[in-house]
């Protein structure tokens, strides 16, 4: 290479270098993509303890849902979700101290996973600390008087009120109908006792209140007492392992002719554990869809999440917890849209929850839910779904309204 060519080449290199330095300088600093502040949502649920076999799936579904939200959507409005699961072990003291810790850690929204203990431990603080809660349990006391707790569920005592009104519509005999309450031994399970005043006011005789222990291995003695009370219909709040025993004993004791209603059912779980002739005729008071309704987009989506989470079975055991997760995500999104990324707070989420209207959770809710600050119970209706031995379940009554027991009771001065 001649000296002249060398000079030209060096000049060109110099020009390129200077140009690139100038361009880089003009472009400004190349900061890494801005990471938005994480949103801390805490699930207080029983993963161990006496209720864990029945409600331990709720924290699992919470974890699955927000993992999916982080992976697929980058969180909520670009904010990663810190989804924290606290194992509360059905223990008030653990709930209380965990709540205090999470409050200090910047919890924006709390979720109660199935057990009433959390509500009991934190009910006095939530409004004071401005931390809203989504109650993923059927606890009527959590919703009335209205406060910072919202739920899509119709509580167990409200359900029996709705059932009673529906049952009375076709009652033609001159005597009062006789109702037996067969209740699981846990907070919301025993709550139908609280509706006795309403049932009696409506003209129903509650002839027996039977409490079935959580660790029951045989329900014969309970059903014997129920049968001896000669009820016209039975309402139970039994959990799936209790339902399994009771349905078997029902057939063995020849009680299939008594109409029998239950507060909730895990259809996939029950139908895999109980013979079809044992659950034949059993009626579920449902406000959320179930695994037999695969045509509902929310159901197939939740089943996909369940399988992806590596849990046993191809169907999720319950579709109400995901609906509550969706409600939480939806409220946070609307709060972020309204107040902006920097001003997100518990108060903003509380306001967004209160402004929820016609929420369907991708069809998981059979009737759309709406809230206000005075109405923290989202669903007002249930559907009566009957199970059959030789075919899929059928809906025997749609849009059965459920009175708000505690509110009516307070208004009646009871």
């Amino acid at each position: 290479m001649t000296n002249k060519l060398k000079s030209v080449f060096l000049c060109m290199v110099a020009v390129v270098l200077v140009a690139s330095v100038c361009l880089t300088a003009c472009a400004g600093p190349t900061a890494p993509p801005e990471e938005k502040q994480p949103l801390r949502i805490v699930m207080f649920g029983d993963m161990t303890g006496p209720l864990a076999p029945m409600i331990g799936v709720i924290p699992l579904m919470f974890d699955d849902y927000f993992n999916w939200a982080n992976e697929e959507n980058g969180g909520i409005n670009g904010h990663p979700v810190e989804a924290v699961v606290i194992d509360t072990k059905y223990d008030v003291s653990v709930c209380r101290s965990a709540y205090k810790k999470e409050k200090d850690a910047g919890m924006l929204l709390g979720m109660c996973g199935g057990a009433s203990m959390v509500f009991m431990a934190v009910s006095q603080f939530a409004a004071e600390d401005e931390i809203p809660f989504v109650l993923d349990c059927l606890l009527s006391e959590g919703l009335y008087p209205p406060g910072w707790f919202y739920s899509l569920y119709v509580p167990t005592d409200d359900r029996v009120c709705g059932l009673a009104d529906w049952f009375l519509k076709d009652w033609n005999e001159s005597r009062k109908p006789r109702l037996a309450l067969l209740m699981g031994d846990y907070g919301a399970g025993k709550a139908p006792s609280e509706a006795k005043w309403y049932l009696e006011k409506q003209g129903i005789d509650v002839v027996i209140e039977e409490i079935v222990p959580l660790n029951v291995t045989d329900t014969t003695d309970h059903l014997t007492r129920v049968r001896d009370a000669n009820p016209d219909f039975i309402y139970d709040t039994l959990l799936v392992h209790q339902q399994k025993l009771a349905l078997k004993d029902r057939v063995r004791m020849g009680m299939q002719d008594i109409p029998w209603y239950t507060f909730i059912v895990n259809y996939a779980g029950l139908s895999s554990m109980v013979r079809p002739e044992e659950y034949d005729g059993y009626v579920v008071l449902a406000e959320t869809a179930d695994s037999w309704q695969q045509d509902i987009p929310g159901v197939s989506f939740i089943d996909e999440l369940w399988v992806k989470g590596g849990h046993p079975g191809e169907h999720a055991p319950n579709y109400a917890p995901p609906a509550h997760n969706m409600l939480a995500a939806d409220a946070i999104k609307r709060a972020l849209d309204k107040v902006g990324d920097e001003n997100i707070s518990g108060q903003a989420i509380y306001d967004a929850l209160a402004q929820t209207k016609n929420f369907t959770a991708d069809g998981l809710l059979l009737n759309p839910a709406s809230f206000s600050k005075e109405k923290t119970r989202g669903s007002d209706y249930i559907q009566l779904v009957q199970l059959h031995k030789d075919g899929p379940p059928t809906i025997i009554a749609k849009d059965v309204p459920c009175p708000w027991n505690l509110k009516l009771r307070a208004e009646a001065g009871q």
Binding site: P59, L60, D63, V85, K100, K101, D104, S123, S193
Partner: protein
């Protein structure tokens, strides 16, 4: 107690022999400890203050189990239910009738003590497993009575709201004010139980525990003292229940479960039966461990997200159980015994004999 002291150190008067706090150094440590209890709220977060308050309530209840089981040798599996009697009595009296807190506290204790006498009656005839079953019945009968017959009074299966404790114009609503109230009662109860063990009554309890036939032969009224042990043990449970109700300001039957009764027994086994220090160490050990495993679950999930929250929750619970099992294998006489060994070694150091 004049054992395990270096040679040449002995008591020269009966007062010295009976003293709980024996030396100036011990007085200094006691005063320092009480000052430490007073300044705790200034240094710990609300979360740990809640933990300490819970520990103090449980210490009172477990002192009750210790009186019945540790001192008198009568097994009791219904302590949580007796705590419920105190809690509900106090809640109903203060909430419905506006009775002042101090009276509620005492009446709650007395009501639980009387319930304890009723369910302690079988102890006159039966012992061991049979008595365990009789006291187990207390757990279920009392909870049934709270839930079913009078829900309009007790709240049934739902929550019963309880007003905060008020004393001398002070309303104990904040975490720190509640802490002072609960801790004061816990210290008082500990002092009472420590002295009870040194009285004629306490010695009668121990005699019955060691051999009830021999105790009767020596002129101890076994019937009376067994029932007295049940009364005192359940009275303390009632006091704990009353404090718990006014601290939580909402109670429900689910908070006084059979599991809690079992844990109370577990706490004195871990701490050491038949000593005043045992319940304190047992409750502190179990509750702190419980808090740590509660924290460990989310921490493990954050580090190993692929493992799944159910697995981490199970793992920490297994480790909780393992710690307790290992502890019972290697120190079956409880933490209090280990503490005694430590103190003796310290006093005699560097001469181990």
């Amino acid at each position: 107690m004049a054992i395990r002291r270096p040679a040449g150190i002995f008591d020269s008067t009966y007062d010295k022999d009976m003293a709980i706090v024996r030396t100036r150094a011990q007085w200094g440590m006691l005063i320092a400890f009480l000052i430490l209890l007073c300044v705790v709220p200034a240094f710990v977060s609300e979360r740990w203050l809640a933990v300490v308050s819970t520990i103090a309530v449980y210490i009172i209840a477990v002192h009750g189990v210790n009186v019945v089981t540790g001192y008198c040798g009568q097994i009791s599996l219904g302590q949580a239910a007796f705590m419920a009697v105190g809690a509900y009595s106090s809640a109903i009296l203060s909430g419905m009738f506006g009775v002042p807190f101090l009276f509620c506290l005492i009446i709650g204790g007395v009501a639980a003590g009387l319930a304890g006498i009723i369910f302690g009656l079988p102890s006159v005839r039966v012992k061991g497993y049979y008595l365990a079953i009789a006291t187990l019945a207390a757990q279920f009968i009392i909870m049934y009575l709270i839930i079913i017959p009078y829900p309009e009074i007790t709240g049934g299966s739902n929550f019963l709201r309880v007003p905060p404790a008020t004393l001398g114009g002070i309303t104990f609503t904040s975490e720190s004010s509640s802490y002072y109230l609960i801790m004061f009662v816990a210290v008082l109860v500990t002092f009472f139980v420590k002295n009870l063990a040194r009285t004629r009554v306490g010695r009668a309890f121990v005699a019955i525990r060691d051999n009830d036939l021999a105790a009767e032969a020596m002129g101890i009224n076994v019937f009376r003292y067994k029932l007295l042990a049940f009364f005192i043990g359940c009275f303390l449970a009632g006091i704990a229940g009353s404090l718990w109700a006014h601290y939580c300001r909402a109670i429900s039957p689910d908070d006084f479960s059979f599991m809690k009764s079992l844990w109370f027994v577990g706490m004195i086994i871990v701490g050491g039966m038949g000593s005043t220090l045992g319940p304190i160490l047992g409750v502190v050990f179990i509750q702190i461990l419980n808090e740590l495993v509660t924290d460990a679950g989310p921490a493990l999930s954050a580090v190993f997200p692929q493992v799944g929250v159910n697995v981490t929750a199970a793992m920490v619970q297994i480790s909780f159980g393992l710690v307790i099992v290992l502890f019972l294998v290697f120190e079956p006489r409880g933490l209090a015994h280990r503490w005694e060994i430590f103190k003796s070694s310290y006093r005699l150091w560097p001469f181990s004999y």
